[in-house]
Subunit: 130 residues, 3 copies
């Protein structure tokens, strides 16, 4: 499980890093708290961070459920795809929100595999236990 | 724990489903990213998704702590109440935000039972260990 | 682990409490759902709640990974620092957003220690296993 633990920490640190970019954009574009609108580039950084939060709530349970029923090393490998995909997503979104699609898919797909793997594993377990 | 694992995946997939409805409403009502305001129906879909994220961070630890100290099958049953409650919440909120109360209670109450069950279980464990 | 479980529930209940303050501010300052802007004091309460959600996704994995590789009692103690820090953050943010820095650091630092502890522990484990 150590590989899954490392991916877990890296995914959260990446998210915290996106948060620091939001804070930096806040100063740079003079968007005073509590406002979260007012400058389009700030809003892109903010949406990248918020969307990453929405994905972490799927990634983290997925990593552990997939590890329970299948293989922690494969779970960690899918987590690495997610980490790279999020960097692509953040980079392309800030450049041009219209081009955020491919980076988004690169993180949604590994999360879907992890979650569906966990679901299939749990259902199979219940069938076998009969 | 397989029942709790299944509920975990279903709750995250339900949340991802709400996210797809936000994406659909974004196209339909022409709300271009990074904006998250501009059309009231889009905003309702967006708030349903955001509120569900806020609830998942309580539901998931609650499911596992309740399972640790009490019964995973009961935890999963409370999770099913949550799943149904969220559908009611999403349906009523998008129709008319004023009527979102009952659906909200149907998800807040099972989360409260799960979390308080975990809290009471942990405190009792510490008392018994003395 | 019972201490970590108690801190987990308290951190989520604190977050739910911030959510109730948002609901109260919504009524008090007449900000009708789905809007999340329109009154600066409401927006402060809302940002406190949202920022707490962003921190919980780091705190919770951190608590369990630190407990796995080091000590659950120390993890719980760092969690108590977080709980106090969040109250400071909420109080100062609502009074004056400019002064939210110290309370923010009081919660970011324990989360960083928990996560980095988990990361170092997992890497060490892999090195020792060779």
């Amino acid at each position: 499980m150590a590989y899954v633990h490392i991916v877990t920490v890296l995914a959260v640190l990446q998210f915290i890093g996106f948060g620091f970019r939001v804070a930096k954009a806040r100063t740079r574009f003079a968007v005073a708290a509590p406002a979260v609108t007012g400058n389009p580039v700030f809003e892109r950084h903010f949406r990248v961070q918020q969307n990453t939060l929405e994905q972490l709530i799927g990634l983290l349970p997925g990593l552990y459920l997939y590890s329970t029923y299948y293989n922690p090393v494969w779970a960690a490998a899918l987590g690495v795809v997610y980490l790279v995909g999020r960097e692509v997503y953040a980079f392309t979104y800030v450049k041009d929100p219209v081009k955020r699609g491919p980076g988004f898919l690169l993180t949604v797909l590994p999360i879907a595999v992890l979650l569906l793997g966990g679901l299939v594993g749990a259902v199979r377990y219940l069938i076998d236990a009969r």
